[in-house]
């Protein structure tokens, strides 16, 4: 049907005489129509629904949804579990994005030159990316098992008893962060490999002639050229931090004592366990706002860094 409408629209615009200034606009919209329709149905309409839901809640127990104004948001910010999830998400963001970035850059620089051995290592480092997060989490569930898990098994050989990886509130979030770094570093490496190809060889030559050591070359040649890549990977990394909680779901369900609860999982808990659609919607909107801020500011830095390079 959509196709039919499209062809009809096209035919019309072709037959329209030149004096109509909006010809190209009509054509553009006609071409965009199919994806706009689906975006509207599956993205914009749900956003509107979430907006509506965030202002509604159950007033009478067992009753219908009624307008409650900003109450959902007030309750959300008053909930210590939400604040905990927000703080956890911050630690999680810093503790996963930065190490994965550093590791990825290291891998990429070590494997930048094409050779058979390097190709093999690239494939090995990239392997975790191919495993879905849920599957990876299920594997780590066995690695992290206290006493009988693979990690504790090897530690026991060294006569060390490991902590309760997922069951200790002080350790659990770090275990999950380690899994995330393992999962993402290989992916980011790919971008850095591509980015490194763009660093001109004569820039290095010039640096060497000027007597720059390896650190200086990294600091004054490689990193400036990689700025756009770093910016891009940063955006991807921060988006992942907010939008991926599969491993939390599989490994800890946000526990123990909310120590691994992240924003998205908190929203899930409100919607499903607490059956409070209003607060879940409010949480979603807060998350969405955070995502927009992160994306907008990173994209601006990204553009600026592109600009710098051009100048």
């Amino acid at each position: 049907m959509a196709q039919a409408v499209l062809t009809v629209g096209k035919a019309k615009t072709w037959s329209v005489p030149d004096w109509r200034p909006r010809r190209t606009t009509v054509l553009a919209f006609a071409l965009l129509a199919p994806s706009l329709l689906f975006l509207a149905l599956f993205t914009y309409w749900p956003v509107v629904q979430v907006l509506w839901q965030s202002l509604h809640g159950q007033v009478r127990v067992g009753g219908p949804q009624a307008y409650v104004g900003a109450q959902n948001f007030l309750k959300l910010f008053a909930d210590p579990a939400f604040r905990k999830a927000l703080a956890n998400n911050l630690v999680y963001a810093l503790g996963t994005v930065i190490p994965s970035l550093v590791l990825a850059l290291g891998f990429a620089m070590a494997l930048a030159r094409s050779s058979r051995v390097n190709a093999l290592f690239r494939a090995l480092f990239f392997l975790p990316v191919l495993i879905p997060l849920v599957a990876a989490a299920s594997i780590f569930l066995f690695l992290f098992l206290p006493n009988i898990g693979l990690i504790d098994y090897h530690l026991a050989k060294l006569a060390i008893s490991g902590p309760n990886w997922l069951g200790d509130p002080d350790v659990a979030l770090w275990s999950i962060m380690a899994l995330t770094v393992w999962k993402n570093a290989g992916y980011y490496m790919l971008f850095f490999l591509a980015g490194l190809q763009a660093v001109p060889a004569d820039a290095y030559e010039a640096a060497i002639l000027d007597g720059a050591g390896p650190w200086q070359r990294l600091r004054y040649v490689t990193l400036p050229y990689l700025k756009p890549t770093i910016g891009f990977v940063l955006v991807i990394g921060l988006l992942n931090v907010v939008t991926q909680v599969d491993h939390v779901f599989v490994l800890t369900k946000g526990g123990p004592s909310d120590s691994t609860n992240l924003l998205l999982f908190y929203v899930y808990q409100q919607a499903v366990e607490n059956y409070d659609a209003g607060r879940a919607a409010a949480g979603t909107l807060v998350m969405l706002a955070l995502l927009l801020v992160v994306t907008a500011s990173s994209l601006r830095t990204l553009e600026r860094s592109f600009g710098e390079k051009d100048a």
Binding site: V61, P146, I148, A159, S161, P163, N164, G167, P169, Y275
Partner: protein, 443 residues
């Protein structure tokens, strides 16, 4: 042009399908059954076998089993289906969700259906173990029919008992004996523990259930069985239970610190890394099939009295299922919970058969004679009590489970934890309490 022709054709087909609908009226009533699999994959196949047999025996009904994941996911999917206006005709629902569903008006009373069969509610429920009534009969109306059930149970590796010079026929029956036995069974290599004396699962869902078992064994109730707005977290019986668990970790050092997941506990037991554990009777088949050593089971050790909560699931009919579909659902529910099928399902899964008469069938008698551990598990039903269920059961339970985790990780004292949990739970239940127990005549 093609568009018009196509749409005409489509329109004609649509019209034809409407016109033909009355002709299908004589076809079997189609119903769906949502079922969770909390234990392992084999059950999904067993369920398909069961429903296939039902369809063959009841040609006027066509039931389709729909696998809906875990207990929690089944709740989510049922609610989603209801929101979409297409409630499944019957659902196997975690028994402690029934109260919440009733409060939200999402499941229907089965009283009229029972009456139409010429029975009273008491006659109908009389076929099931008494312990199961509390989670199925709400406000004296039947909202669920017990399908498969469990209780916590003490599992002991008897090889370890012998090795420690203990009598393998005498399992710990009270907390005192549990501690002395666990101390003898715990093995250390310097500071490192190589074998724990005792393990209990404390992950979400499981932890609350086990703590309820300890509380009830300590004379407590955990929650108000008759009213969904009260829990007794900050009470002596609960303080004793939580302190006991915490002592096993920090004082006696026979139980690992932090949260232990159910799978980690059964895994450690099967690997010989813990000598005793409290786990669901629903794991009995799994342990029986995988233990490479002799083990025995016993009642959950008591401090004040023998008492445990039930677990498991009941069959419910969602609101909005009417007419023929409702009748068909009722036929299916009765068929699935009759003694013979109940017994078959119990043997296949390891859960109890809730129907008492199931244990009078010859197959079941033979099975119990061959597996005395299953017999002990059933006997514990005599002292079993309802599973905690309140307004918003899951968050109210999470309130105490988060504190339990803090205590087991030595972050809080039991008393601090219970005060915090009580406050949190009261806060969650406040809207319900304000609209029920605290809603008083104003003039």
């Amino acid at each position: 042009m093609t568009t018009t022709r196509r749409s005409v054709l489509a329109g004609a087909a649509l019209a034809a399908s409407f016109a033909l609908q009355p002709a299908f009226a004589q076809a079997p009533t189609e119903i769906e059954l949502f079922f969770p699999v909390p234990v392992d994959g084999q059950l999904a196949r067993d369920m398909a076998t069961l429903i296939k047999e039902f369809n063959e025996k009841n040609p006027t009904i066509k039931a389709t089993p729909v696998y809906t994941g875990s207990y929690d996911e089944t709740l989510i999917k049922t609610r989603a289906a209801m929101k979409a206006g297409k409630p499944p005709a019957a659902v196997i629902m975690s028994a402690n969700f029934l109260l919440d569903l009733k409060i939200e008006g999402e499941i229907q009373s089965m009283d009229a259906l029972i009456k139409a069969d010429g029975k009273t509610n008491d006659q109908f429920m009389g076929q099931f173990f008494d312990a199961l009534h509390g989670n199925a009969v709400l406000d004296r109306q039947v909202y669920g029919v017990p399908f498969h059930n469990s209780t916590p149970l003490l599992y002991v590796n008897t090889d370890h008992l012998k090795e420690a010079g203990l009598d393998p026929d005498k399992l710990p029956a009270n907390w005192e004996e549990l501690v002395t036995t666990a101390k003898k069974l715990t093995k250390r290599d310097g500071d490192r523990v190589t074998r724990w004396g005792m393990m209990m699962p404390s992950n979400y869902d499981y932890g609350g259930w086990i703590l309820q078992a300890l509380t009830q064994s300590n004379g407590g109730e955990w929650f108000n069985v008759n009213y969904g707005g009260e829990v007794y977290y900050d009470t002596p019986s609960m303080l004793g239970a939580l302190t006991f668990w915490s002592d096993l970790v920090t004082k006696h050092k026979v139980h690992p610190a932090g949260v232990q997941a159910g799978g980690a506990v059964s895994g450690a037991f099967l690997a010989g890394q813990t000598s005793m554990m409290l786990l669901s009777t629903g794991s009995l088949t799994h342990i029986r099939n995988n233990a490479k050593f002799p083990y025995k089971v016993a009642f959950v050790p008591k401090n004040v009295r023998n008492a445990v909560p039930i677990g498991g699931a009941s069959l419910v009919i969602p609101t909005g299922v009417e007419g023929e579909r409702r009748k068909a659902a009722w036929t299916l529910i009765n068929w699935m919970t009759a003694p013979e099928k109940s017994a078959w399902w119990s043997r296949a899964t390891g859960y109890f058969a809730p129907n008492k008469a199931a244990y009078d069938t010859p197959e079941m008698k033979e099975f119990i004679a061959k597996n005395p551990d299953a017999g002990i598990a059933v006997k514990q039903l005599d002292v079993a009590k309802p599973w905690f269920a309140t307004y918003k059961t899951v968050p109210v339970r999470k309130a105490i489970e988060d504190e339990l985790a803090a205590v087991l990780s030595a972050k809080k004292t039991p008393k601090e934890a219970l005060v915090a949990a009580q406050k949190q739970a009261d806060e969650i239940m406040r809207p319900f309490v304000e609209q029920t127990a605290l809603k008083l005549p104003t003039n």
